[in-house]
Amino acid sequence: MLNYIIRRIFYAIPILIGVNLITFTLFFVVNTPDDMARMHLGTKRVTPEAITKWKQERGYDKPLVFNTTEEGARKFIQTIFFEKSAAMFAFNFGRADDGRDISHEIKTRMLPSLAIALPVFFLGLVIHITFALVMVFFRATYIDFWGVVFCVALMSISSLFYIIGGQFLISKLWHLVPVSGFSDGLDAGKFLVLPVIIGVISGAGASTRWYRTIFLEEMGKDYVRTARAKGLPETLVLFRHVLRNALIPILTGAVVVIPLLFLGSLIAESFFGIPGLGSYTIDAINSQDFAVVRAMVFLGSFLYIIGLILTDISYTLVDPRIRLE
């Protein structure tokens, strides 16, 4: 087990290097730092001095991958690639355009993001699986049919409308909770209710339908027939046998997402004004803060890879047949 995990971590390194190369190409090769400077400072009437100053402030004034003016190993160290891209492996993300340390920002903004993402994830998992089980229990009846129709209709609504509609109904019309905002401690509860509810509802259509197909697939298997032949009641078959066996495919989809929860939800956070990583990313995109976007891309793929490893470990927990060697 431990061997396997260590090996997986070593496999992750080339992938992270790949991600790093992609971001490096996107941010520094497709467009030179000069282009970025011009974009930031305004394309018209920008002096070369202003560009040089802009580049110096951000440390973009070095050669991309090879510095001919330096000696020895410094030929590679004194470059943009080493300072900006390779440094990310040490979680050294540098500074944002407003001069703040990105790593520090990420640490402080992680909690608000998790405060929404975790409840959405776990509540969603429980509620969606419950709905799917109800639909499977009443399969081939009108409840099942209209349930599927309802799911497809829910799937067809853009997540933007859920948020806009929810804010309008619950906050503006009924004045139950504040429209947006955030505070520390227990006070945060009233700000979190609405985003969590909307998060659960907006994911309901797709996940419920997906869980339903998984359950239905399990229902067709031999052990279910055996269980019924033994005379077990349908509820017991469903909750004891089918639910347990369906956990494996459900876990594949669910566990991968857990580490990504740190990143928060881009849209929900910006609509509800929650100072998490999602709104941080959106602000960075809007103000074209390339350093932050680069850091978030790296962090995102890092967390995704952790998610993949966690998925494999969780397999062994739910299915004793699977052994990781």
Partner: protein, 480 residues
Amino acid sequence: MPFKLVILWTDALIYLLLVLVIFFVWFVRHNEHLLVPWRRVGHSVSGMMALTVLTIFITIGLLDTVHFRPAIENNSSTYSKVYGVQVLSLFDVIATPLRTSVEKTYSAPFAAHLYTKETIELSGGSQIREFPRLKFGGAHLYDPETQLVADVIWRTVVGIGFGIFIWCVFVASIVMLIAYRCGKKFKQTFFAIFYNETEIPWRAIFIMLALILVLLGSALVLSSYYHIFGTDKVGQDVFYQSLKSIRTGLVIGTLTTLIMLPFALLLGIMAGYFRGWIDDVIQYIYTTLSSIPSVLLIAAAVLMMQVYMESHPEFFDTIAARADLRLLFLCIILGVTSWTSLCRLLRGEALKLREMEYIQAAHAFGVSHWRIISRHILPNVMHIVLIATVMDFSGLVLAEAVLSYVGVGVDPSMISFGTMINAARMEMAREPMVWWALLSSFSFMFTLVLSANLFADAVQDAFNPRVKTLTFVDRKFAPR
């Protein structure tokens, strides 16, 4: 009117897609075994109803794809024609009254007055603050307070009548066509459809069509006198914007798949078929790409594309060309982030297929690799490709809205569901609230995505080999 045809990048790709679809239809019609699953799609009630709606959307989208630049009328003696910088489409020409009837600012649906008060100078020199009349909406009315409701109802009735008339003509011609093809009498065919005894669920299609035509008919009649979905901040007709958004949605939904398909097909099959180091390299590429959260990758790529376009303004001569190029880039970027899942599926399928006996036999006969791939493997993975294509469509339309909201979507000058929602979201906070732009974009987008989802379900049910429930339905009225 003299004009210069403009073929934008996305237009060219849509034409290519159209040619491919026509070729595909022709090919399927001549191969009985390919036709079987499509027949199953044709028998699905919800699928065919969804297809009816989609056809209307696609027609509007295609009309909006034929672009040209009208000539500027100049009275000078020079004979050289000068073409305007404004790029119009065939749809714009049809919807000229909608496009040109621009008010000053917000106005509610079916309103005859503006939504905001303005200072109006009376003839005597005194000033009053009042809601001024609209320039176009309800301008034909003498006294809107008393006449408006009656006028709207009367025109709705006319529109419905118009829609029903078209529907009758359409239904009669289709029934005649079916009767001719089956060699039955008109009356016989009609009652077969009426009692839902036909193979293709014509009754459901006709009911759907009646609904569409009634809505469309009344909308057409009313929209030439009123702004039926109101106007936005700069006075643009919201109904016109919603119709224009359809093309953007369709382009994103279809071209993204068209662009990514060659990569996914080639790499996926190669990885599964050749295995070894080729498999390792391809797996590495798609694992790396898919490990970056897609929104972030798209955001990073679009940001960089913005910088690139900013520093190379020589690539486009009109605003439309610029917006179009950005749309194409967005499709490419979405394609790069979304090909990985299809590639993984195809790899798995190719791995399975290469062990099949018929492929082993082909090997033994010394058939070359490329021939095995193109003759034996490719046709056997096409159903996966087809299912993935139709399943992706609705997701991509939804993604466009979110991306445009985040600020990494289509060009702000391009009308799309995303830009409409983005603009309208601020209006909800206004007092009094402006709700019609959101309602309009919501209903159009919901209809498009819902019908795409239902059609995708029908296709998946018909093509998915895992669900082989060949229910035999006794249809008395099969075509000869």
